[in-house]
Symmetry: none
Subunit: 417 residues, 2 copies
Amino acid sequence: MKAHIISIGDEILIGQIINSNSAWIGEKLSEINIEVVSISVVGDDEKQIKQEFQRTFDANDLVIVTGGLGPTHDDVTRKCVVDFFKTELVLDEDVLNDVKKFFEVRNRSLTKINEDQALVPKIATPIRNSRGTAPGFWIEKDNKIFVVMPGVPFEMKGMMESFVLPRLEEMNSEEKIILRKNLLTTGIPESYLYEKLGNIDELMDGNKLAFLPNQFGVKMRLNVEGRSKEEAQNKLDEIEQRIRSLVGRYIYGKDDEQLEEVIAKLMIDRGMKLAVAESCTGGLICSRITNVSGSSQFFERGVITYSNAAKVELLHVQEDAIQKYGAVSLEVCRQMAEGVKAISGIDIGIAVTGILGPSGATPTKPVGLVYIGLCDDKICTAKEFHFGDNRLLNKDRASQAALEMLRRHLLGIPYDD
Amino acid sequence: MKAHIISIGDEILIGQIINSNSAWIGEKLSEINIEVVSISVVGDDEKQIKQEFQRTFDANDLVIVTGGLGPTHDDVTRKCVVDFFKTELVLDEDVLNDVKKFFEVRNRSLTKINEDQALVPKIATPIRNSRGTAPGFWIEKDNKIFVVMPGVPFEMKGMMESFVLPRLEEMNSEEKIILRKNLLTTGIPESYLYEKLGNIDELMDGNKLAFLPNQFGVKMRLNVEGRSKEEAQNKLDEIEQRIRSLVGRYIYGKDDEQLEEVIAKLMIDRGMKLAVAESCTGGLICSRITNVSGSSQFFERGVITYSNAAKVELLHVQEDAIQKYGAVSLEVCRQMAEGVKAISGIDIGIAVTGILGPSGATPTKPVGLVYIGLCDDKICTAKEFHFGDNRLLNKDRASQAALEMLRRHLLGIPYDD
């Protein structure tokens, strides 16, 4: 079943709201193996809306429309549905009761424009709205399905979950099963990853692999087809195994996992405690770690030593070392990691110092230069990194590299490239 | 000038990423009075992409395409551009130099597929990419404009700001002027703000005012029209003045300003230094402060005292107080602020302790309970807040409240509601 999603509303076109409805609907349809082939957004304009209905209903088996169903003058979707399907509005008693009850519960009196919301296109099965006043419409014609819902995400989601998705799932009993999985890598550029994987067609055996890079790493999205769930799962497992054998060391997680969640599991499993010393990342590493509920089980403390005085006073970094090598240096970074471990009396200390830009560069130390240090009871080391020139992205990159250094250390994977 | 925006990528169709690029581009085009009439999303499929190019280039004066320009096999946009415009790829020396430099700076060697990124469609003016390796394309044909950029938001935004928007603005000079301004408030709920503003129609004099709430506060978006830039600007100034006279104390900034930037200006202007002690916010306040370039001028240090031991050792909080009142209490919070100021020897210390959830609540201390403390040379105080039950949103809210408490303190505005 091929599907198209239409969002209606000027506010989306001018970027006042982000089209999160389409993303949510796309995800839910994918989960029941309905293929979303395209998405569109049009303004609150009758002519344009009707053209879009025509174009997309011609080309697809399913069209899902959201927005423009409210009671005010700029909501024209219902009128467009009536015109497009050459039908008329009729009063639906159930919907009228819903609307009346909605106002009763809220101790508000019903207005004429709210009452009019109980008028639904004759051709449609109304989709009751337990979370608002505007009903949705389910229309079947020419073996195709046309669904219209309000644009308010909470109302739309209620209708999708209670009415639309169950019906669609029942109707869409296809042969082909598609399974998806994301493998998350970091510390390796997209082009290197691509080369290490060799012949992609051979590797994927006719299935899809996409590379999605951002400042935290490269996401590999696997799309695997099978005639049954078992077949697809077996294929997916086999392909994942092959990929892991080639680039497994760079893979820190899967799907929506965050690196800090992976770290939390590893540390808690091992019963180990962590302390963090940050200079240039300014608290981002600690903040990411404490995003994880339960992080107090392994995260003991952090210090943000932005000034040299703080590095000396809190972490016992030698003033000599700062004089000789500079605050951004391998040696000071190593001492920071050593210091934060020592003052906390715990298992592992990590530290970051660097120049994230736009200012702060020197002739020998460019923007993007970052050192990351790690100390446990056996080793005390630091490593040099080079990132870009955007301050905020560099903070993300440096925090990710620090957490990845910790992950590889915990798992005994070398971090040498 | 009528515009259409196309985003390319399977990951948007299946809802793995939200189409924030289109929203951002839509907003920027609106600002220079270019009307975005529609938006679409298509998958990584050559046939579909070329069809969409044809359909939208026929119907509009401007088409902006993002996505599918990466170096790997699933990035097919460039090939589609070549086919659609019946042109060929030629090597661009400037772009090749950009790509080489990009890898040099990062101490990485150039691969063949990266080198190939310097091949651009002959019909296009390449748009240089200072933030990545794939160039964009600017194409003019039949008095229409066709722009192609990478889907990585940071790279796309760089190209839009440095190249695309200035060119478009020059080409597009219209009669009616619309000016937009955002006034940013925090520490007051939407409904209270609304009531304090009184009669909105009278206040806005036929112009638009929208309220956009999120966890950082409520954004008021003003849309003001005029027949000339001067007329619109005068109207906007007058309306802003009226709004500020009613709710000015809650307004911390405008447009895209962050509260941490406002704080940075205030602190640097006054030549004052800040130290921060965080428990529940786990480093987020320090991280936000250090997002601002130049924050080292006023931010001295931060400590993330997640454990009680750290509170006692680093901040000299009395163990008695923790025993008697609990780590989440007005008294411990006050002592944390006092302690971080004392150990740093600077002007102001702020501190946060609380229960952000989902776990950690006690019969007397619910999830969402947060204390924020502030000490300078004259006062040492703490205040109780109640937020919601979502951990990450609570971190945002608590960090915002702490920064707002500091802003009002610096400006002598009471924080009593």
